[in-house]
């Protein structure tokens, strides 16, 4: 029972972080839950070898990433949790600046090797050294992938921004062409003209 309590405090507290990353890896909520469940159970079965005081979160992520690399090929064909296509389908009236859905769609649209390092570094807060160990790749590779991942994400977000701006312009134009809009504009113009006349009816220069 004591071991279970210890595992609860050391390992299970990271379940949400694991699940969040698993979503980004697998693109499927069901697969993500299965992956995290298996990772936590493996961690439980090797818990006696875990060195207390070391980074438990990094240890758990290593186990999960090791598992996911074997399952990846089966899951790669699944659509991402958020897709850029979903974003483009949104009505043009949604003009709020860079919605969270846009950002996540851009993130999910990155190649997996870029997406993984970006998630681990930016969302989960791991260092480049920790990520290198988790993925069993050199640290220099992690650093270069992060640089490229950030650049590609920026490109994707800039494209989204352009699309949003274009749709906003179209929406604004459509509203201004409507009969009600024309009436409002004419009234506004008339009020403006009245304001420019002097009390005696002459134009104010």
């Amino acid at each position: 029972m004591q071991k279970q309590q210890e595992f609860e405090q050391i390992a299970l507290v990271h379940a949400q972080s694991l699940l969040r990353t698993a979503f980004r890896l697998t693109g499927s909520r069901e697969a993500a839950e299965d992956l995290v469940q298996e990772a936590l159970l493996r961690a439980w079965r090797s818990f006696e070898q875990f060195e207390r005081g070391t980074n438990a979160k990094a240890w758990l992520f290593k186990i999960m990433l090791n598992l996911s690399s074997r399952q990846w090929s089966q899951l790669r064909s699944l659509p991402p949790v958020h897709s850029m296509e979903d974003v483009r389908q949104q009505p043009a009236t949604e003009l709020q600046p860079m919605a969270n859905a846009h950002v996540l769609a851009a993130l999910d649209g990155l190649p997996e090797e870029h997406r993984v390092v970006l998630v681990l570094a930016v969302i989960e807060g791991f260092t480049c050294k920790e990520i290198a160990k988790m993925l069993a790749i050199p640290m220099g590779t992690v650093m270069s992938r992060l640089g490229r991942a950030r650049a590609r994400l920026r490109e994707q977000l800039q494209q989204v921004d352009k699309n949003l701006s274009a749709r906003a312009a179209i929406a604004a134009s459509a509203r201004s062409d409507s009969p009600a809009a024309k009436k409002t504009a004419d009234w506004g113009a008339a009020r403006g003209a009245d304001a420019r006349r002097s009390p005696d009816g002459g134009l104010i220069q």
């Binding site: 379940a15 699940l19 839950e33 060195e51 950002v103 480049c128 290198a132 640290m139």
Partner: protein, 297 residues
């Protein structure tokens, strides 16, 4: 600091892994280079957007936790299943005893405010890095990109050091080369050579030396070359520097045996060192790294 160096080190800057000196160098560059400052600001903003989006995402871990807890309860009290250990004597002793300074060109700029203040970070802890690496080998059984073929190992050594004879020079008496790979320690590539006598395994880490500072107790001297040694997590580590190479020896045998490995290697390596330095192009180490990585594809 050059713009290319800023671009390369940006990930370490954001993760807080740069030491105080490097951070200050980078900050000074950003103050004087608007292009880099703009690029870094875009990166910072992008990270902020990702973090906000992730924080807003609804993640419900309750169902998974419930299943895990149920399974744990079902497996208890028979929780004596252990992860299989490779015996310590047969396991690769992958610890490193090295303290490197991150070498950067100094610039004569005055101190100026930073765009995004970063906390000062300590230098990379190679000792902890090495201990974790050994822990990974034994506990987690992570897949490693080892080369086992003698010809491939010789080629790797040639490409990595510029001299395939290093392979033999580092071989302890009664041992043979068993496997090799490229590893990265302290943000530098090392050749990791594992020698075996059938019972024990000894690791030799080697790279072309670039003036790294080795710290540790001096255990011996070979023709004027100090051999340093120390213990870390039940592993014994010895190290030396020839005019061309930095070599670190790790084993689970007593300190005097480990130092002996290093002493003999130092004698053999130094005897064949040329007085003039042969620059090993970094691309060769990169090629060696790629070679090791491709083995796992």
């Amino acid at each position: 600091m050059k713009c290319s160096e800023v671009e390369y080190m940006a990930p370490l800057y954001w993760s807080g892994e740069l030491d105080a000196q490097a951070t200050a160098e980078l900050d000074r560059h950003l103050q004087s280079c608007s292009a880099c400052a703009h690029a870094m600001e875009l990166e910072r903003h992008g990270d902020e957007l990702i973090q906000q989006a992730a924080a807003a995402e609804q993640i419900d871990a309750a169902p998974v936790l419930a299943r895990v807890r149920a399974q744990i309860a079902a497996e208890s009290p028979s929780v004596s299943r252990r992860w299989r250990w490779a015996p310590l004597v047969a396991a690769s002793a992958a610890a490193v005893f090295l303290f490197t300074f991150f070498l950067l060109p100094r610039q004569n700029n005055s101190s100026i405010p930073t765009i995004q203040a970063r906390p000062a970070t300590p230098a990379v802890n190679i000792l902890a890095d090495a201990a974790d690496d050994h822990h990974d080998e034994v506990v987690d059984h992570l897949q490693r990109e080892w080369l086992y073929s003698a010809s491939e190992i010789r080629k790797l050594v040639q490409e990595g050091t510029g001299n395939s004879a290093v392979l033999t020079q580092l071989t302890p008496d009664g041992y043979h080369i068993e496997r090799a790979r490229i590893c990265e320690l302290g943000m530098k590539n090392y050749l990791h050579l594992v020698y075996s006598d059938g019972t024990h395994e000894v690791s030799m880490f080697v790279r072309q030396q670039e003036g790294e500072q080795l710290a540790g107790a001096e255990r011996d001297t070979v023709n004027g070359t100090p051999v340093l040694g120390d213990s870390y997590q039940k592993l014994q580590v010895a190290a030396f520097q020839s005019p061309r190479y930095t070599v670190v020896v790790v084993s689970d045998q007593p300190m005097n045996a480990t130092v002996d490995f290093a002493r003999k290697a130092a004698g053999a390596v130094k005897a064949s060192d040329k007085t003039s330095k042969h620059a090993v192009p970094s691309r060769l180490l990169a090629q060696a790294q790629e070679l090791a990585v491709r083995k796992t594809a």
